[in-house]
Amino acid sequence: MNHKTVITKSVREAIDFYPGGLCFSELSGIPILVNQQMNTLIETLTGHTVLDAVTAWNELQAVSTKNGCIRLDKPWLKTEYFHDDENTLVFAFPDDHIWQFRKQLIADNGIIQIEAAEITQLYHISEELYNNNIRLKQMQKRQEKLLDDIVQINRDRELLRTKMRIHDDLGYCLVASKKALTSDEITDEVYSELLSGWEEAICGMTNVPKQNRDASPEAELQKVAALVGCQIIFIGEQPKEKNALLLMYSAIREALTNAVRHAGANRLTVDIQREKQWYHVQISSNGRPADGEITESGGLKSLRRSLEAQGAKLSYLYQNGVVLVIDLPAQED
């Protein structure tokens, strides 16, 4: 046995001991070296060992299920831990092992290498991680919702507590009244105790609101505007989306404050136009025209910040005074 034969055999043995699958071929597909593991895997998937690497790869690409093997295309395979391109294929084998096949060009693009790596553990951990991340995102959404609602939840709890107290008071009055009415005689003391009990229960009952809000945002804004001698006139339909509506009221508040404080206005006109995905709102007043252009500071600056944070826009028109123009994103009908 000459030296060259020894080296070739040793290389063959060495790559056969390699736990993964390896295949090196010429660009035409003629195999140079294929290890035992690769032949076994390819045989299970295609029904034959590697005779031509290019053909074998094409056959692998066409396999979706064969001999109990299933081609996998799960979303967690698209995460950073895996290659996700046309040169990567993943299969589940009947023995529950998962193998990833990857084709690449090596040796200055002169040789094709197909490598098969057993990724069973990585696959299952990634699946778990992927599902945990989804759960975490859902929990985060629920947490954000809870934060949004916590003040209202608290308010509702207070209301419920009050209603329960009134329920108890009324129950007590009813029982005491029944007892007094069925007794032979009602003393002055019992009578006055009953009377004050009923008065308290009824008084408590009249203070419980049927709804949380007394005034709509518009009604309250009109009320405070009237207090400073200003009337707000709305033209057009107001936004239905709560966010857009509240942003519009913030802008009206700012315009009202400036118009009354700096321009002595007593009338504010809010003109609302719906334009496909936007509400176009122009807010003008009958106050004195401003000298020069608006310099944003304080209120206007913070209004712009809150508008832009929610995808809305703020601009100005200069025509018989300053007109505040806001564009609010609308939901599609």
Binding site: R155, N207, V208, N212, R213, L227, G298
Partner: protein
């Protein structure tokens, strides 16, 4: 005559405060509103002496923000902040906004009318401390200032790397604080912690 503006979005509380104030000789309620953002407009009338201002008001408007703006334009108006929320930062924020006094609707023994009188006499009436809440195995006063800042960041759903950036501390320092918080509370994960502090209203990041 003391002219009063009441900002309170709970009808029960508002009715109760209105009754107490209108029974007082020398006090006159100009109006009651539900949304703190409208308070500054009322102040433009120029006749408000005292505002009883809730912190969490209608449409999620913050009474603290409103108070800050009012104090900039109308520093003579006295403001008493009111809340039923045990949020740990509210007292400090009220001081920073320049409010004269602070009244807990549910926790303190202080009478609102007494707080009004003392405030109008030039005193600043503030509770000694925020209500102490049980968070897991520890009480809320056992958290350091920095730990409360870290919890606030966790409540906002920020990752450790974002907390590190927002609070200008090292990533490992964030982990160190979180580990300490977990040891104190006995919670197994930050989600349990966040659920508890939000449920008990120790932290309300919107305000």
């Amino acid at each position: 005559m003391i002219n009063v503006l009441i900002v309170e979005d709970s009808k029960i509380t508002r009715d109760s405060i209105e009754r107490q104030i209108s029974d007082l000789p020398g006090f006159h309620i100009i109006t009651s509103i539900e949304n703190a953002a409208n308070a500054e407009i009322v102040c433009m009338k120029g006749n408000i002496d005292l505002i009883l201002m809730d912190i969490c008001t209608a449409d999620d408007e913050s009474g603290l923000n409103a108070a800050k703006r009012i104090k900039q334009h109308y520093p003579a108006v006295k403001i008493i902040m009111m809340t039923s929320m045990p949020e740990h930062s509210f007292i400090q924020k009220a001081v920073e906004c320049g409010c004269e006094s602070f009244w807990y609707k549910e926790y303190g023994n202080e009478d609102l009318i007494e707080v009004c009188r003392r405030t109008l006499n030039g005193e600043s009436v503030f509770p000694d401390m925020t209500p102490v809440l049980k968070i897991g195995n520890c009480s809320s006063d056992q958290f350091t200032k920095r730990e409360l800042e870290v919890i606030r960041e966790l409540v906002k759903g920020h990752k450790y790397s974002e907390i590190s950036e927002n609070l200008q501390i090292k990533y490992d320092t964030v982990k160190f604080h979180v580990r300490n918080i977990m040891e104190k509370t006995g919670y197994a994960n930050t989600l349990q912690l966040v659920a508890d502090v939000v449920e008990k209203r120790l932290i309300l990041p919107k305000y």
